[in-house]
């Protein structure tokens, strides 16, 4: 196969990936975009399979079969509430693929590839020329080293993120010394990359990069709490893209570089959006704890005697009169699997002529866009899912806000109390509405560990209990009215 033609097809594939992401800028064109992107992938794979250097198809067929079955099973069986876990795993696999490609390329260029496990560790006498001439060899070795490093961090980091999202790991563990401990691991891994560049045959250096980076991935994500996972997932998404782009430099492959850098920027931009939505720096999310606020806020003092609770049928009486209702979902809605019940409540209100919209905070849920996907699953039209900046000015004209499973993103302390750890975080200004209904199990604090003065306000009603059950009872009461 003529290499020029192969590169031409890679260019076409790259264009299809770009058109695919462009399609995602509108819900209407998104499905077509995804199809175009998949077509680009098919083209790139087919043209690669025609490459004359591929003669042994047994490993390829086995890998495609195993991977295809696992991938399809995951994709078709996963519940929408578990989408963050799925994306975490996919990030990890992406990192793992780049890692193994870089290792394969390294041992293949090395010439004297090991035949036994002990050989992997035995340094080989080789000149850098196996990896190219002069600067080329340096670039190739740096690319290999960095791909291995980032790929391995992404692999183990994503598995920890998965374990946290799946609630297999509930506590947070960290290296003693926190960021300093991690920095030592990172510097050691980078030193191993340098030593690999100086002496390419130093297989011990290669194995060290792998080991150190795998550990670094674990230590980076283990201390981070569940509610910060949107940032972590977005960041690991970006890493998997950067690793793919670096693998492109190793192989001199254009389509890998284009696709990898698109994924890398996507992850970085989402990371940035999530950090802004929490008013925290990336460093603070990764290494910091939520700063302990200046004055400690006593929950009892805020709540004592001021919290009004209500039964679902009492709420239904208010909903009957409402002209405009905004529903604010949070992770609790996903936990209670209440999205279908919420949609039915909205249907019941709309049948009575009430205007219903949904106010979505960027960090609601466990990954960017999590709430939107859940509500779309429950067949809520996407134009009713309103982002924070557009819904906030409408709260003053809203009769009732129903908060289900959200807490910190509605806490007015973020706006008013300067000493508070969440001060400055953009929130949904639900307290401006005429009535606020909070469906929650108890008065327990959210991830930030703070009491929410909203719960004690005069126009707030607390409905205690399971989110799904409470919403269904409201719907029933409303339909009987």
């Amino acid at each position: 196969m003529d290499q020029t033609f192969v590169n031409f097809v890679y260019l076409v594939a790259g264009i299809l990936f770009i058109l695919g992401i462009k399609g995602l800028t509108k819900p209407k064109t998104a499905v077509r975009g995804n199809t175009l992107s998949a077509l680009g992938m098919l083209l790139a794979v087919v043209i690669t399979l025609l490459d004359s250097s591929i003669v042994n198809f047994s490993y390829i067929i086995a890998g495609v079969l195993v991977g295809g079955i696992i991938g399809a099973t995951m994709a078709l069986r996963i519940q929408m509430t578990s989408m963050p876990q799925m994306v975490a795993l996919l990030n990890g696999f992406g990192g793992g693929a780049s890692l193994t490609i870089a290792l394969a390329e390294y041992y293949s260029k090395l010439g004297q590839a090991p035949t036994s496990f002990a050989d992997i560790l035995t340094p080989v006498v080789t000149s850098a020329s196996a990896f190219g001439q002069g600067a080329e060899a340096t670039i190739a070795l740096v690319s290999i080293g960095l791909t291995v490093l980032i790929g391995a961090v992404t692999l183990t980091g994503s598995f920890i993120a998965f374990a946290k999202l799946q609630e297999l790991m509930k506590k947070s563990y960290g290296l003693p010394g926190g960021p300093i401990g991690n920095a030592i691991f990172l510097i050691a891994a980078l030193a191993a990359v340098v030593s690999l560049v100086i002496n390419p045959g130093n297989t011990v250096a290669m194995v060290s990069i792998v080991g150190l980076a795998l550990l670094l991935g674990l230590f980076l994500v283990m201390p981070i709490g569940g509610a910060d996972m949107p940032v972590v997932i977005a960041l690991l998404n970006s890493y998997s893209g950067i690793a793919a782009a670096l693998a492109g430099f190793i192989l001199g492959n254009t389509v890998l570089i284009v696709a990898g850098s698109l994924v890398g920027t996507s992850g970085l931009i989402l990371t940035q959006i999530m950090c802004v939505a929490m008013n925290r720096s990336l460093a603070n999310v990764l290494f910091g704890k939520m700063a302990a606020g200046g004055e400690t806020v006593d929950a009892d003092e805020i709540y004592a005697g001021k919290v009004t609770s209500a039964q679902p049928d009492e709420v239904a009486l208010i909903l009957e009169m409402a002209e405009r209702v905004v529903i604010v979902p949070g992770y609790g809605m996903a936990m209670a699997q209440a999205q279908h019940a919420v949609r039915e409540l909205a249907d019941a209100m709309e049948a009575r002529g009430t205007e219903v919209e949904y106010g979505i905070h960027p960090v609601a849920g466990r990954m960017p866009g999590h709430m939107n996907v859940l509500l779309a699953e429950a067949e809520v039209p996407y134009d009713k899912l309103v982002e924070m900046d557009r819904i906030n000015p409408t709260f003053e004209d809203t009769d009732v806000v129903i908060i289900i499973g959200a807490n910190d993103v509605t806490n007015p302390m973020a706006r008013e109390s300067e000493g508070s750890p969440i001060y400055g975080m953009p929130i949904l200004n639900v307290d401006k509405a005429k009535n606020v209904v909070v469906i929650k199990r108890s008065l327990s604090p959210g991830f930030a560990g703070l009491p929410n003065p909203l719960f004690a306000m005069d126009h707030t009603l607390m409905v205690y209990g399971d989110g799904k059950k409470a919403v269904i009872e409201m719907t029933t009461a409303l339909n009987q009215a």
Partner: protein, 93 residues
């Protein structure tokens, strides 16, 4: 060296293009964007195929290639299918 500069130019321009494109994706579609880009990063399959299919290489290289093909295929198949599943939910009205 020439080729390296060319690849580097491609890399930098793609980053800028990425920023322009991704900032236009609405928050509603951020989850499909992540799973969709996961599928795109499965493009490493191309590199994996070359490693798994070469004949001159020793078994270790083929073995690593096999792992890479498997992982990248999970991303490609899983990523596109799950993205399609989600987007279909957004489309229906």
């Amino acid at each position: 060296m020439e080729i390296l500069i060319l690849l580097l130019a491609l890399f930098v321009l793609s980053l800028f293009l990425g920023v322009e494109l991704i900032t236009k994706v609405p928050p509603t579609l951020h989850t499909p964007l992540m799973s969709g880009t996961n599928a795109v990063s499965g493009i490493t399959l191309v590199g994996a195929l070359l490693a798994a299919g070469s004949d001159t290489s020793p078994i270790l290289v083929n073995g690593l290639g096999f792992i890479a093909v498997t992982l990248a295929t999970i991303n490609v198949v899983g990523g596109y299918l799950v993205t399609n599943r989600m987007l279909a939910m957004f489309k229906r009205k």
